[in-house]
């Protein structure tokens, strides 16, 4: 098939996902619990954009001709890896499916994908769209199932040439090991994070509070606040958390839905409990938000210390930990003191401080005056145990600095 035709098929897939986005958003909310307003206005459009972005790459993934010594004609071709196993998580089911399928199909691979057992429905619907669009048989295969059975089978399969996994660091270790003990298949991992969010004293306070609250629901780990604005920030964050609307995800006013299942629910409550026993100051929330389902109140802990469990381990729930710092040098050191390195953020108006902090942080993405800005165009991946690529990543993909509107380097 012409590379450009692969691109055409991916564009058509984007079109019909867009066509069915109301249904897909409802299904996503039903299966995952995220508010429908978010599924429809954030997840679905980003899924569509992701497929369209990679559709454009299909016939542009170029090799080179190379002037080597001697009478030789030397050139590289960028060929598909082959059969790609893909194991995706439950927190962004559709989006994770798009992030995996987009680049794999654009570059001509075929796929065996295991979707999360908690949230298989939207991926399976997309499979029907893949057939409708006209992808040849066998190009995309989707298996709903469990990690230890179906997932492990993929990770150690002798005929799978690469496995891509998004999930916990623990399971990432297992997958990496399985590759080593089977056929040395290529491995890419997007794992956990304990992302530091650093608020400097000259930050725009409104922005910082709002973005930090919003970040609670997206892998945000630790909020470091400079001493002289600490009290105000905590007070305003608590006030914001108390205003958070937790409820039926199909209600358009709801900002926060339930956690995805009993296991996660219990785990988060466990962390909250450890926060209390280890001496963090519970400022608001800290309990169950409804008498059925897996709803947890937006929770804020102040006076958190670096060695507390809630400061070190990934909670994956609506729990904010606020820590105090004095100097820039100190906060960069403390922020880097973690086995993770997925993302980070810094809020400041000072160009020099923004550069110092962002260049000093060992994280795959640094957001400046914003949080969770993703574009299909920008690479996303972690340092250290947040990520592993055992092939050399293309230049420019090991770290991404995303700048918010405040930092336009040239006016449009």
């Amino acid at each position: 098939m012409d590379a450009s035709h692969r691109g055409l098929l991916l564009n058509r897939l984007a079109d019909i996902i867009e066509r069915d986005s109301v249904y897909l958003a409802e299904l996503e909310t039903l299966d995952n619990g995220k508010p429908y307003a978010v599924s429809y206005t954030v997840d679905l459009p980003n899924v569509v954009k992701c497929f369209r972005y990679y559709a454009g790459w299909a016939d542009k993934w170029e090799g080179k001709t190379i002037p080597i010594d001697g009478d030789y004609f030397c050139y590289t071709r960028h060929e598909p890896i082959g059969v790609c196993g893909q194991i995706i998580p439950w927190n962004f089911p559709l989006l994770m499916q798009a992030w995996k399928l987009g680049p794999a199909l654009a570059t001509g691979n075929t796929v065996v994908m295991k979707v999360a057992e908690q949230t298989p429905l939207t991926a399976l619907y997309v499979a029907s769209l893949i057939k409708e669009v006209g992808f040849p048989e066998g190009v995309v295969n989707i298996l709903p199932g469990m990690g230890p059975s179906a997932g492990a089978a993929i990770a150690k399969h002798m005929d799978v040439d690469k496995v891509a996994f998004t999930g916990s660091t623990e399971v990432g270790h297992l997958i990496q090991q399985a590759s080593g003990s089977s056929n040395l298949k290529k491995v890419t991992l997007e794992l956990g994070g304990k992302s530091p969010n650093i608020i400097l004293s000259d930050a725009n306070m409104d922005d910082a509070v709002e973005q930090s609250h919003f970040a609670l629901f997206f892998n945000q780990g630790r909020t470091y606040v400079q001493a002289d604005i600490y009290d105000e920030f905590v007070e305003r964050s608590v006030e914001r958390a108390k205003r958070g609307v937790v409820g039926n995800p199909f209600d358009l006013k709801t900002e926060q839905g339930p956690q995805v299942d009993q296991e996660q629910f219990n785990k988060i409550l466990g962390y909250i409990s450890s926060g209390k026993t280890e001496g963090a100051k519970l400022m608001c929330g800290g309990g169950v938000a409804a008498d059925r389902g897996y709803f947890i109140q937006p929770t804020v802990f102040g006076d958190v210390q670096d060695n507390m469990t809630i400061a070190r381990e990934e909670i994956f729930g609506p729990v904010m930990q606020i820590l105090k710092f004095k100097t820039l040098e100190e906060v960069v050191t403390r922020a880097n003191d973690t086995k993770y390195g997925l993302a980070a953020a810094v809020f400041t108006k000072d160009i020099d401080k923004a550069n110092y902090v962002s260049n000093g942080l060992r994280a795959g993405t640094v957001w400046i005056n914003c949080y969770d800005v993703f574009g299909a165009q920008a690479p996303f991946g972690g340092y250290k145990a947040s990520d592993h690529k055992n092939c050399k990543p293309p230049p420019g993909t090991t770290s991404a600095h995303s700048l918010s509107d405040i930092w336009l380097l040239s006016e449009p």
Binding site: Y53, K60, N355, P412
Partner: protein, 512 residues
């Protein structure tokens, strides 16, 4: 322009079944004949119009508003305004620019039959070629560049001392484009697609012989939702509208496809005015080298397509075919046999594979060169005359025994004339192939891989085709060495011609 070879050899005598071939539409009247500025249709400032003719019949199709300097000024103002700081085009996400380009491609698919019909009426090229090759290439070029818009990367650079150093690839600005009559729609897309992909705005002058498809696309550009002023179309003549573009002080770049002579004028005008950036796609006198170890039938068919496609009106025309001595006679014999299959006729008829030349001026030039071939002693093997007493049809013509000093060996003919030369030595034929002021394309026919690679390394042309001809793709750069042009179109390479690099260097204090 990748050829699939289905149309040149004509069709079965009982004609095509109604189901198998697309058909031209009946064009009652031409809807778009005015100047397109700011998504509006305007009459010319001077009040003048000019006719556009159907070269197959000599009959006028319609009159078109004639743009001159004042209209170009208006168009440039619109293009400038459309990209000023804060404008919709400027603030638009790169990915949204891509959506618009895809939307335009969709609309061209919708109007494909109409566009192919208009193209054939205006140029004389056979309808099935318009439909399957010109329209296909145009749509694919748009979609290719639609995919690039949000992948135009700058870099972050590891400079000495404490700086953060970044490059941004920004639009050049207002791009002027002057395009020829041989592939009106395709050339239109080769210009606007990369220009718009990079975020520029455009003032484009289609050829005076062939304005119609460009103007119809203007209506689609508006329908697709491009903001006003992003694309402006100014039909008119070279010495007036074209010259106004080349020397305009507010046009940041000009792209021209046409003759080498005019290319030189444009480059001078660009330099004299505001040093606008210039890219040129000019003429060629393109050599094919056919080695004895080639697939002979393939070589005969490909070189013939190369010489006669579009009635020879291609910058890529295979105008010098060097054939190794030992297969020369057989090559000539087969070329004549192959030429007999060509069907001359009404371009709208699906059986036709050869239409008229574009106008009287071209016709006369080609006939003059054919006569010179006879006079200077080349052997006329086939054709060599006009078809009928009036009209612009010329028979596909084959000369053998051509010598390097003859006019037909040196001058660009731009007509259906295949010139066959003989050679013995590989070294010498490479020198002969390279001894031209031109250097656009070349082709090598051989089954020996080593020879293919080493000969292609030696040829001084922007494209080398091996065992094929006219294999053009949206993904592959195209352009000339020497006086065949400056710069490259298509592929990723074209993006550089439509971008300006800005380096931003930020001081980092070391004291923190």
């Amino acid at each position: 322009m990748a050829q699939n070879g289905t149309t040149e050899n004509g069709v079965a005598e009982d004609g095509p079944s109604a189901l198998t071939f697309p058909k031209p539409v009946k064009v009652q009247d031409i809807r778009h004949t005015m100047i397109f500025i700011n998504n509006e249709w305007l009459t010319s400032t001077s009040g003048r119009t000019f006719p556009t003719l159907n070269p197959a019949t000599g009959v006028k199709i319609c009159d078109v508003e004639e743009a001159d300097k004042d209209d170009v000024d208006k168009a440039v103002e619109a293009a400038k305004a459309a990209r000023q700081r804060g404008s919709p085009w400027r603030r638009m996400d790169a990915s949204s620019r891509g959506r618009l380009l895809h939307k335009l491609a969709d609309l061209m698919e919708r109007d494909r039959l109409l566009l192919a019909t208009l193209e054939t009426m205006d140029t004389g090229k056979p309808f099935l070629q318009s439909f399957f090759i010109d329209l296909d290439g145009s749509i694919k070029t748009l979609r290719y560049y639609a995919g690039w818009t949000d992948k135009i990367h700058g870099k972050s650079l590891p400079v000495d001392e404490s700086f953060v150093c970044l490059t941004k690839h920004e639009p050049v600005g207002v791009c002027g484009a002057i395009i020829p009559w041989n592939f009106p729609l395709l050339m239109f897309m080769w210009k606007i697609a990369p220009a718009l992909s990079c975020g520029n705005t455009v003032v484009i002058k289609p050829a005076e012989q062939t304005p119609l498809t460009a103007l119809h696309v203007g209506s689609l550009i508006k329908e697709a939702g491009f903001p006003p002023g992003v694309v402006n179309i100014v039909p008119g003549f070279g010495p007036t509208a074209g010259a106004a573009i080349a020397s305009h002080m507010d046009i940041d770049k000009v792209a021209f496809t046409g003759s080498t002579e005019v290319g030189q004028l444009i480059k001078e005008a660009a330099a004299k005015s505001n040093l606008k950036r210039v890219t040129l796609e000019l003429g060629g006198k393109n050599p094919c080298i056919v080695f004895a170890d080639c697939d002979l039938q393939l070589a005969v068919e490909e070189t013939q397509k190369g010489a006669f496609y579009n009635q020879g009106q291609c910058c890529t025309a295979a105008s010098r075919v060097f054939v190794e001595e030992s297969i020369h006679d057989e090559f000539v014999r087969r070329s004549i046999e192959n030429a007999k299959k060509i069907v001359i006729g009404d371009p709208l008829d699906p059986r036709t594979s050869h239409g008229p030349q574009i106008d009287r001026q071209q016709f006369d030039k080609i006939m003059d060169l054919i006569e010179s071939g006879k006079k200077e002693g080349a052997k006329l093997e086939y054709g060599g005359a006009a078809v009928g007493e009036k009209g612009l049809f010329i028979q596909p013509t084959v000369f053998s025994g051509v010598k390097d000093h003859m006019r037909i060996a040196k001058e660009e003919i731009f007509g259906p004339v295949l010139c066959i030369f003989s050679f013995k030595s590989q070294q010498k034929v490479i020198e002969r192939a390279n001894s031209s002021q031109y250097g656009l394309v070349s082709a090598v026919f051989t089954t020996n891989m080593d020879r293919a690679l080493s000969v292609s390394a030696a040829l001084e042309t922007g494209t080398v085709w091996i065992n094929c001809y006219n294999a053009l793709h949206a993904q592959t750069p195209f352009g000339g060495y020497k006086m065949s042009g400056n710069g490259r179109e298509l592929g990723e390479y074209a993006l550089a011609e439509y971008s300006e690099v800005k380096a931003v260097t930020i001081k980092l204090s070391e004291t923190l």
